[in-house]
Amino acid sequence: MLGLLWAIPLLPFLGFLLNGILGPRLLPRRAVGILASVAVLLSFLVSLGAIAAIADPVALAAAAGGSLTTDAGHHRAVQTLWTWMPIGTSAQGTVLRVDWAYALDPLSAVMLLVVTGVGFLIHVYSIGYMAHEPRPAYARFFAYLNLFMAMMLTLVLGASLPVVFVGWEGVGLCSYLLIGFYYDRVFDETTGMTCADAGRKAFITNRIGDMGFMLGMLLLFATAGTLDIQGILAQAGTLGTGVCTAAALLLFVGACGKSAQIPLYVWLPDAMAGPTPVSALIHAATMVTAGVYVVCRMAPLYQHAPAALLTVAVVGGATAVFAALIGLCQNDIKKVLAYSTVSQLGYMMLGAGCGGFEAGVFHLMTHAFFKALLFLGAGSVIHAMSGEQDIRKMGGLDRYIPWTHGTFVVAWLAISGIFPLSGFFSKDEILAWAFRKSILLWGLGAGGAFLTAFYMSRLYFLVFHGRARFDKETRHHVHESPRTMIVPLVVLAALAFAGGVLGVPEALGARNVLGEYLAPVFEAAPAAGTAAPAHLAAGLELGLMAVSFAIAVFGIFLGWVFYAQRPEIPATFAENVGGLYRLVAGKFYVDEIYDRVILAPYYALCRAASWFDRYVVDGAVNAAGYVTLGTSYTSVGFDTYVVDGLVNLTGYTVRGASWVFRKFQTGVVQSYATAVVLGIFILVSVYLLTQGH
């Protein structure tokens, strides 16, 4: 199956082409959904086959040959397809070249399974969720979704940074197109932001991050002479701390854009303008984790850049808490989940930044399960409520949509970190790494964990418990979703429940399967100077576990008290600390600050440049034109009265002279004869006189 590595991104791409070209007019609606889902399923199956092939070192070593090279020791296979950019030889003689190549190793294997697995479930779910769309839009939706899968898989499999960047930008494009899917609708009534605006905001914010990615690539290309990821990582030790730090930080700027970290997180909450399956797939489970993936992919580089690694941890930790705070006061069910995603991505960054790359990947995986489940559940709720998204207008839904409710409970407990659900283990592993690094970072993580448990409980109780706060009309329509939507929910619930078994800490007497599986990736380069802190004592680790469990329970308890038992408390609370409440509910006014500090000056600069162009640059050109024109008028005057005057004067002179001479030309033969004779007489006389001497 390793030989088919190229097919993993290509299959969904073919689905995109078929649905994009034939879907709107020719294919029946059923075929569109099935085609798209089958394409992803096939990708999933090929991935399984390929992953099985890298598991066995002996078979892997034997598989090499042709386009395939393997590194059995590290369970890695690379398929080089063609030379993409033969850029040339640098002045120092290095051959700069970029190949189109895919690499499969344990890290990309985990990502592959998450992306194709969760992706397939969401495709199936979408068949039901998007059923009300007109056919062209329906086909367009699945075409974009398939294109997204192709790009995401390219990102995951890319063996060199530019190929990763192809996927990186490709998923950005799909995100843009899907956020703006309802491009004629207004998304946010208060600000008048349209869905198309939200899409553009996402794209541009990501582009700002991509500047960093691009510059990071350029720096690595210039210093390491290659952009092949393994080639760079192999040199990480010799590049020097300065280069490593600069490159790692630049790549992290890109990661901040894609993975919505401070200060570039602002696009993700607005990305909720897209259809809910998109929010689940792209803006929760897969694309937004690409930044975390890249940081982990480049782990040896980061290990040689302690300052960069610390930055990752601090930014991640800060984002985890900051976004969770905002999440406390949101009333749109999807916005709560969006801020929760930002916060959880911060968690992953925190884990990676503390050196726990496998903990980051572990959380990435469990988060993909429970957050996709939360979004799909939210979609089911919105579906049931005929499009209502305000949680203040919900309540008591547990009776109406039991399947959605049941699966939502699993996701809620998993994200809150309740033992033995998946979120507990991954969050705990990150906290353990943070604790090893610094108690302050652990504090950020623990604070974030508490906030998460609290706002998720708020969401849960407001939506599913208490009295129904919607009108009769809506109550009449509330219905459970169709089976295509429920089945994916149940599968994801199972994964969110049990996914943690892959990473049970050794302190609990089990094996950390995922950690062992990923070990070859992260131990590939020895961490110079940043040797991993020693393992925590088992007792301490158990203690930390107990603390984080207690924090989660306390958060849920508070949520229960506030929003299920004594719903009047939050209102009083908000009133008492009005200013603080408004600050948080207003999302710390970050969007407004960006508007004033960046966008307004930018537009002003554009207008100024345009003015300058019109009146100064072009003004100078036109002025030169007018000066020339003026000069010509002057010269015309000069010409008419002076030059031509002289000419005329000459003319007049000639005319006067000719008047005189005309007297000679009378036409009378006698006078001519007289003149001739006279002339001869004079000439002869002169001759004779001169001869005399």
Partner: protein, 561 residues
Amino acid sequence: MGWYQAHILTIVTFLPLAGALALVAAPKGKPKLIMQAATWIALLDFLLSVPLFFWYDAGRGGFQFLERASWIPSIGVQYYVGIDGISLLLLLLTTFLGVIAILSSWSAITERVKEYYVFMLVLQTGMLGVFISLDFFLFYVFWEAMLVPMYFLIGIWGGPRKLYAAIKFFLYTLLGSVLMLLGILAIYFYYPKASGGPPTFDITEFIRVLGPLTDPEWLEMQKWVFLAFFVGFAIKVPMFPFHTWLPDAHVEAPTAGSVILAGVLLKMGTYGFVRFSLPLLPRATIHYLPWMLALCVVGILYGALVAMVQKDWKKLVAYSSVSHLGFCMLGVFALNQAGLKGGILQMVNHGLSTGALFLLVGLIYERRHTRMISEFGGLSKQMPVYATLFMIITMSSIGLPLLNGFIGEFTILVGAFTIPPVYGFLLPGLGFLGGKFWAVCAVFGIVLGAAYMLWLYQRTMFGKLDNPENAKLKDLNLREVMTLAPIVACCFWIGIYPQPFFSVLEKPVADLAQRLEAAEGGADLARGAALPRARGADVAAAPAVAAQAVAAPAAGGASAP
């Protein structure tokens, strides 16, 4: 076949002219016939030029398909033509866009149809001639000759302010060409002194003899010749601040005129720098390098800023051209292989994507007779095929990977980023950054590019279809799709498998880069006496210093691999 191969350049270049002459004789009353005939001629010309791509021996490099004949022997003028990989790409771009431009005019041009197509074909010959000439005199003749048909195309078939635009275009470029002529004459008169040979306009000979020459008189003269060439080429490119003729010319020109203007005419300026300034005046190039780089980067950012606030769709695209051409020039003046390759490839890319953008604007203008962006909105509902093609071209223009723009931009940035610090710098104290500074500015330009293009797309294609005028718009017909589809196909081709393009550029670019390196190695023209001491160390340690410097200035030039 052998005969054809030996005369292919002449045939390809003069076929459109012959066609134009034939059209002159055609009856006036049959516009349809004339249009079809012109299209067939252009298509035939393109098909005849295609074999060049396969016959050109990329491994051998150098000028190929040479044809040489004496023309005005008394002053050494010859008919001397030939192409290398650089001119090959631009020649193919010209014949390719020629077909598309003519095909796109079918419904747009309804008046004086015969004259229009005659001018289009004459223009084609003029442009092709510029790219194949190896004789400076011949080059100048084509360079000037091409202005005339363009002047009439804008002046007769243009928009409301066509006369202003046409005259501005003509005079501005003429001003540049006259200065360039002075430069050419200076070289022409200097050459016999330097070589002792008979006077000639042979460009290859000039480059061979004068390029590496280090005679002090010549070095001083280089600077002046460079400036003269600079004005001529920079106006054509156009580089900031010589760009203001471009928006006017573009806005007023008919669609096909804009396509040719953006696609090919602007490339003559960049081509001029690559073909003449760099190999012929390497020392002067290095001398003025900081200024040139600064102008490139200013152009990138400035064009993008101004484009953002344009209300006229076509003017926005015109300013985006200023920005993109800045990228091309940045690559060229990186003076290394990566930059040169990227810069030249980006010329082709810009020809494709901006050519397509002008076609797209033209299609809308034909339907609505307005180009004001505020008149539109929600068109993607009404014209899905149009919206899809526009999206692809937009993405190509903003450099999305898998499309052509990315390949060019990335390669250029690699080139710019690796400009060593030894090549002078404008801002004191930042010299250690070398090209990194310019690369960072250029990368910023990519973000701005995305900003104005996406905003344009959103304002025209997305939103509600609330203007009743737009509700009647028809989607593209087959002919219109046929004008755009080949361009889109090329965008993907270059984006996914650009190797054929890189490989024809390999040899000429390597040769050029080597000449420039050699010039840098021995010259002190650029930086006076203060620097030579440091340079020796810098050149050797350039990669290391460059690498260290950006990351940790304090670390200094620590030893690196």
